[in-house]
Symmetry: C3
């Protein structure tokens, strides 16, 4: 399946999307599978509608931006412990509930494949291709010891709350 | 008590609500008692103020729309397992924390009765009577194996992210 | 360090903030450390940008408004039990995950000190000094048995959903 299937499947059920001269700004603080899924389905759908979409990732929402092959991040034992217990990368997301040592996410991903819903990894790649701006929060990167080279290619430069709030002015805003 | 008590009690403390030519769009991704409570208190209050309120239910937020007497949903063992562990219906909501095997929600519901705050079930019925649009997300219904006949009467037809984002344009938006 | 360091540190990375004739309305339903942190970083940053910021605290989001030296709140055993298990005050916030019996929050606070990010307690004091309106939700105060004298000085009078939605009209809105 292509990463676009989720969006195409949705559009079949929808009225023809109008071109909307709008912005969507998502503050992504959660890093669980279903929250990340929601953030990328909404931002890629918005991009397909001609809306400028921005995902401002902070705290747990930073970890999906970590490269899938990076195991440990951080400078000190505290930051390393957090990354060890909360592994980064779109391939390592956990459900916020019913996680069941990974059985829950595995089931969800299997169901998604059967229903041609794109995985978080595919959706994030699609988001970048479609011009969704993924902006990591500088302050929480510092706090958690995440470095630019720990994060995937193609994302925007790290920024702070002021930038995010300026971008949010006049936009549809969601805190996920 | 009537299901309106929560709103009436609130209005006593408030300035006279103005007629607002506005929309409220809630993306309900959570299915825990306090999140569902918040979504329905805000949407019924908005409706009482003349605001067109829409609750777009996705993922765990779909389960409160399941009929209270439906026990198992889904076609395959994975979907059935999720419904078994996360029973649908407004009568079966759990707190996101301090759940204590159901003692937490029971306490909260008892406190709500004593303080004349409407239960989630009453609030959802009130919401439908007041014209709040409850829209289930088609994609997550497919993913979780939920069928239209598993869900309560009176709700809108299932729709996708494009519809939700179009409705959100110019609205007050909350992701709960 | 001063409580302003977090904001100052952010602004170094940012374009010069414009004066924005805007409102920010945060519905704070969560009481976990990272959510409270996000709410106060965003609202103080907004205030520094000339935006009128309001934090409407409900449910678990009420507990950070409880005085740090108040141990038990509520009139009956149920309300007291909730306060016992979920101690109020900005000094007693827990992480939503990786809490590890308090080791997680202790680590986060240590990291914050090292990176000159203000603590939730400092941020809340800064918020009040900068004119951020902290509004407790009357209905959930009643439900949880929280009294005005349990809460810190300087906050706004308790209000209901109608007030919050009126304030949200035309504002950037976030449900945290």
């Amino acid at each position: 399946m292509t990463a676009m299937s989720a969006i195409e499947a949705t559009e079949e059920l929808e009225p023809e999307p109008e071109e909307v001269d709008k912005k969507l700004v998502i503050f992504l603080k959660s890093g669980d599978l279903e929250s990340v899924w929601a953030a990328f389905i909404l931002s890629t759908t918005a991009a397909a509608m001609g809306t400028q979409a921005t995902v401002f990732s902070t705290f747990w929402g930073l970890f999906p931006l970590v490269k899938n092959d990076v195991r440990i991040t951080g400078d000190n034992w505290m930051q390393k412990a957090v990354s060890l217990m909360n592994r980064g990368g779109t391939d390592h997301l956990k459900l916020s509930k019913l996680n069941m040592l990974g059985a829950g996410p595995a089931m969800m991903k299997k169901l998604a494949r059967e229903h041609k819903v794109a995985s978080p990894r595919e959706l994030m790649e699609t988001a970048l291709e479609m011009g969704v701006r993924l902006v990591p929060c500088q302050m929480t990167m510092d706090l958690l010891g995440l470095k630019r080279e720990d994060l995937i290619e193609g994302i925007a430069e790290p920024a702070g709350a002021t930038s995010a709030l300026l971008e949010a002015d006049g936009a549809t805003t969601l805190f996920i």
